[in-house]
Symmetry: C2
Subunit: 141 residues, 2 copies
DNA sequence: CGGCGTTTCTTGACTCATTCAAGAATTGGC
DNA sequence: GCCAATTCTTGAATGAGTCAAGAAACGCCG
């Protein structure tokens, strides 16, 4: 993806096209599941003087627009990804915090319907699989 | 549940029975989905001088032993519950943060098996349903 | 192209849940 | 009851994230 693609994504969401936002969008695309600090570092390779606040603001704007998804497993800081709208989920390593994508477990998004919604209007189901990644399994026996 | 029940729960998990732990276990039982500060408040009704650190330590010990479950939806502080081992999930209100229990969506824990585990050894699937609670739906039209 | 209102960015201070550390008290086995 | 190990108290520190005020950038409109 080039700059123009990111620009169009932003314009399509009625967001102003600013250099920090384009850079943040690029950084999230190239660093799936990265935390804010990693994204800040990646953004500063292109725009050395962006403030951390601009990155926080951009991530918030992009998340609100649905262009990026924010995930935050227990015990982790916020992480971001650009793969949105396909109902995929995540496996998280309890040991090192590594995250990988998994497609919906049982085919046709069955988890989207709660059996009893307690009066809530549910619009999304988020599934987090907890376990141990291959590396940690090896190093721990 | 009385003190002796909590004591037996603790002993059964090979945990020392201390007054803070018994009080924390009682507070979590009586305040499902409460955050740490609420639990601290509830504990201090019985033990006015417990330190916040004792509550943090107790919650960590109880969580590690599997007696309480820690949950932390994005954007929320840590919350705790004693309903464990029955594979239930949660609905979270995007507006006010309210949490309610939901039983597993499709009967026999289908969400527990990821379609592709990326080399991870998965031991638990956590489902969070996001939406709007009844109160917030009303007040927002 | 140039002005203008609005949005966004910079700078820097601040919040607050959670963790860390050192020493005192408690627990439970003997 | 005594002792070693664990847990609690006290108080400071950490760090992701937020708040606020003024400067800069965006993009609409003429």
């Amino acid at each position: 993806m080039g700059h123009t693609d990111y620009e169009q994504l932003l314009r399509g969401a009625s967001l102003r096209v600013t250099r920090p936002r384009v850079a943040v969008l690029g950084a999230v695309t190239e660093n799936a599941h990265a935390d804010t600090e990693t994204i800040l570092g990646a953004v500063r390779e292109r725009l050395p003087d962006v403030s951390h606040q601009a990155v926080y603001d951009s991530l918030a704007a992009l998340s609100a627009a649905g262009i990026v998804r924010r995930i935050q497993p227990s015990g982790s800081v916020a992480r971001y990804e650009t793969r949105v709208g396909d109902n995929h989920h995540h496996v998280v390593c309890r040991s090192c915090g590594a995250i990988a994508d998994v497609d919906c477990a049982v085919g046709h998004a069955p988890c989207l319907t709660a059996s009893d919604d307690n009066g809530f209007t549910v619009d999304e189901a988020e599934v987090i699989y907890w376990g141990t990644c291959a590396d940690c399994s090896l190093s721990q026996g």
